[in-house]
């Protein structure tokens, strides 16, 4: 019987591709391999990881080793009557949908890529465009199997161990190895959505649009042009959608002909190209304004159509900045953030603005909370980028906001503690560590 072990690899990079430290990685395929990997003395600490879609260092462990869980990708049970699915933690959202969509079920909420594992979705308590209806994904987790170095195996539910459940949802993979997840899926009447695109001219127009859409639309989000300044500052494209119940259950296709094979030259994304892209994107979408029928893949996962798009940021990679600011301060704070970003001239073309609803996130370290969340990419340019982000931090901290660990590769310990005031109760597994965790807790 084959037992996997750790092998040093250069190709284990997080999605932002900034950190390049060599990682020791094991690729187990079965649960029975995990206890000995957890005990393996060849690495000081371990971290279970999935498809490495986190942007910074929360999915890296250079001083220890990674247990890559993608080989544990089996379904255990699916009840097409109730929509309860149980699967190993390495099953991707893409595979899950392949099974569930033809039977009329969708993920209860989904991030902007389907190439995440269930374990990763749980460990970051991911959210989606339907946050105001569904909350974060942790709300739909009925149970999970957890293997800890100090407690062995246990099945955790919100009822039987509320503390460990709350620690593990959004727990960045640090509370034990999640071996399997039981999830309540959401009923859909078809694979298509009725999508309405509404271009708006400035940030101040976003808020009423968001407010009026919440009650009648299950999905809302806005793309925002961070390069625009002056009168047009914060202009964007608002989109809102509802599922169509026409029983057309077409599946997505992962075989994309669009793929970025090599890292783009560092100069590819600069003020000019980003400005031009944003202008073109704004115009193209303004032309498409109005209602259309769209499949879930282009609606939820537009970037998944271009494999390896993160390589467009070149050899130095990118950092993402995602914050949430409370409802009371959101208008001023987002305004201030956009002004600083536009002035810096460093903004990139992927910026998203969305309002979160009131449904509480179940995790101690869950990111989603009532307010507005802004997410955008910055090509990494060393100190210049870090200084800009520190200025953004000050605005977020002032507003009483938080940063998203899944997107982060540089937040300070102070910023982490402000974002997650309950972190002291976190039930970390002593055998697990990540580069992120070392950074924010030391």
């Amino acid at each position: 019987m084959i037992q996997s072990s750790f092998v040093a690899r250069d190709d284990a990079l997080s999605w932002g591709r900034v950190m390049r430290e060599r990682q020791k990685v094991a690729h187990p395929r079965f649960c029975d391999e995990l206890p000995s990997l957890l005990r393996d003395p060849s690495a000081a600490s371990k971290l279970p990881v999935g498809l490495l879609r986190s942007y910074g260092d929360s999915c890296l462990n250079g001083a220890g080793a990674l247990i890559e869980m993608c080989g544990l990708d089996r379904f255990m049970d699916f009840d097409a009557e109730t929509g309860v699915l149980r699967a190993e933690a390495g099953v991707s959202l893409s595979e899950l949908l392949r099974l569930s969509v033809p039977k009329g079920w969708f993920a209860p909420t989904t991030p902007g890529t389907r190439f995440v594992t269930l374990g990763g979705a749980l460990a970051n308590d991911v959210h989606g465009k339907n946050h105001h209806r569904a909350g974060s994904i942790g709300r739909h987790v009925r149970a999970f199997g957890l293997l800890r170095s100090d407690r062995g195996r246990q099945t955790v539910t919100p009822q039987n161990d509320p503390e460990l459940f709350a620690s593990t949802i959004g727990g960045l993979g640090l509370t034990g190895i999640v071996e399997w997840v039981e999830l309540q899926l959401a009923r859909i009447g078809g694979a298509f959505l009725d999508v309405e695109i509404i271009p708006y001219g400035k940030l101040e127009d976003f808020w009423p649009l968001a407010e009026e859409s919440v009650s009648d639309y299950e999905h809302t989000v806005a793309w925002i042009d961070c390069a625009s300044r002056g009168e047009k500052s914060g202009r964007g494209i608002f989109s809102r959608a509802n599922w169509i119940a026409d029983s057309a259950y077409d599946l997505h296709d992962d075989r994309s002909w669009k793929r970025v094979f090599i890292e783009a030259p560092g100069m590819a994304l600069n003020r000019l190209t980003v400005g031009a892209f944003n202008e073109a994107y704004h115009r193209a979408n303004s032309a498409k304004a109005g209602k259309s029928r769209q499949h879930y893949a282009p609606f939820f996962y537009p970037l998944d159509a271009i494999g390896g798009w993160n390589k467009l940021y070149g050899r130095r990679g990118m950092l993402q900045y995602q914050c949430v600011v409370p409802r009371e301060t959101q208008r001023d704070a987002i305004r201030a953030l956009l002004d600083v970003i536009a002035d810096s001239g460093q903004a990139s073309f992927l910026a998203v603005l969305k309002t979160f609803g009131d449904l509480p996130s179940p995790g101690l370290l869950s990111f989603p909370r009532p307010g507005a969340t802004l997410a955008l990419d910055f090509p990494f340019r060393g100190d210049t980028t870090l200084k800009l982000m520190a200025r953004l931090d000050a605005i977020v901290a002032d507003a009483g906001g938080a940063l998203y660990p899944a997107k982060d590769g540089r937040m300070s310990g102070d910023m982490f503690r402000r974002s997650f005031p309950k972190w002291g109760k976190f039930m970390k597994d002593p055998a697990l560590e990540s580069d992120f965790w070392r950074r924010v807790t030391q």
Binding site: V7, D32, F75, M76, D77
Partner: protein
Amino acid sequence: MTDRSQHIVILGAASAIAEATARIWAQSGASFVLVARDTSRLEAIAANLKTRGAKEAVAWPLDCATADASAELDKMIAALGGLDVLLLAYGDLGDQAEMERNPEAAAKLIQTNFTSAAAWCLAATAVLEKQREGALIVIGSVAGDRGRRSNFIYGATKGGLARLVEGAAHKLAPIGARAVLIQPGFIDTPMTAQIKKGPLWAKPEQIAPAIAASAQNGGPIIYVPGFWRLIMLVIRNLPTFVFNKLNI
């Protein structure tokens, strides 16, 4: 897919290549007997195949390398209610240096990869010959195409098995049944975890469709990915004085 691939026995069902192939067959409602040593692994695989559409998936814990092939195969066929495909996917890589020092280690690898595998192939061929339909699919290796200093004991077991399957295919061809040898190139599986990967490497799920389709047609020797046919054509035909200089 037609009824032909409905009753499937997989020897070495916990191997990454076998599991990826079984997932494709499961989608068309096949019934499986899944054979490997570890019960818990087999049960995880069986549950997955059933969730993905398999009509039945029976975990059958057994050490293929030491089992009584013919008797066990009869039991499996009785449990399944027929045999349309037998996929033989178990095998070991062995440690060449260790096996050169230690004849017992070499004998063990030969028992696993060749002697026992040959017994299963002969048992399956006899069944297919009698029923005049069905397919035997055997996972070989490009290492069997030409003996190389880095792994010629493993290569010998796979080369020997290749000749056996080729012969079975020749025997079965006139009567409507088939035997197929799959020749995987470099595949990223737990068996090869310690080897540094280059651009020639493929994932099990990339070669699985070709293996699954071989139950219906093609063969008797199928290289996966297909470009390995050309690579091995070159390797086999390299003049000795060139070949001897290659450290492969």
